[in-house]
Subunit: 155 residues, 2 copies
Amino acid sequence: MTTNNAATEDLKIEGFNVGDRNQLGSYTLTLEEIISFAEQWDPQFFHTDPERAATEGFFGGIIASGIQTMAVFQRLSIQSFSQNIKVIGGAGIKDLQFRRPVYPDDTLTGSLTVTDIHSEPERKRALITYAGELVNQKDEKVLVLTISVYVQTND
Amino acid sequence: MTTNNAATEDLKIEGFNVGDRNQLGSYTLTLEEIISFAEQWDPQFFHTDPERAATEGFFGGIIASGIQTMAVFQRLSIQSFSQNIKVIGGAGIKDLQFRRPVYPDDTLTGSLTVTDIHSEPERKRALITYAGELVNQKDEKVLVLTISVYVQTND
């Protein structure tokens, strides 16, 4: 994976190597956080109304908005980035799957593995692609995604 | 697109037709909303610190977190859904692109076009796939994505 010339050159980007896996730590979403986020951004009863979620929902109770699950992933990712890495901005997301519902008090633990590095030296930047995931306290995957981020390089 | 048997059968799902385009209305993100969201979920200086964003950022000032841009899209989508549609939950997102930065006071207008309907009558549900987008007040695309949602059917 790292034996061709292009990849070797890419490896000069300090701090990034294909295959690097970063553990992102954990975050526990409370019922209150789930409801208040959803009331603002994703007002569906199975995210906001415990009683209706228990009787009419498909998951036996309140579950977190998928957008909030992504927000947890983002928060954990940002906190884990080295201070030396200058993020320009996110480029996009591919193949995001909400594998399982996230319930109140679930503890979500993230990881981020570098899968591709595309250097653009003339623009002093590189596009880093990661495979990301969040698992719950039972080690079940709740979120998987591929995400690409532009970072500044010093080439 | 709707001439084969499978598609014809799929069209029986009330309220959904491939090609249907829903206008989702608009939402304007304020500087305060951008900062408070990012402080909680995406604490990077170009989302939280106006001064550093203006001097060290790549976009001339504060921009919204991409997660918040998605949250705006979700909010507009949910508000536009018919009361008759029973959403089970989101399945996933493909090919999401953050095409342009979102600045404070940008007005984002959404649309959602049905691109695929996959009926699962034995589970009384269908997987609806949409092409979604958000444009700013200059009609420039800021977010494009493909999103799939399970809905309950009465078959």
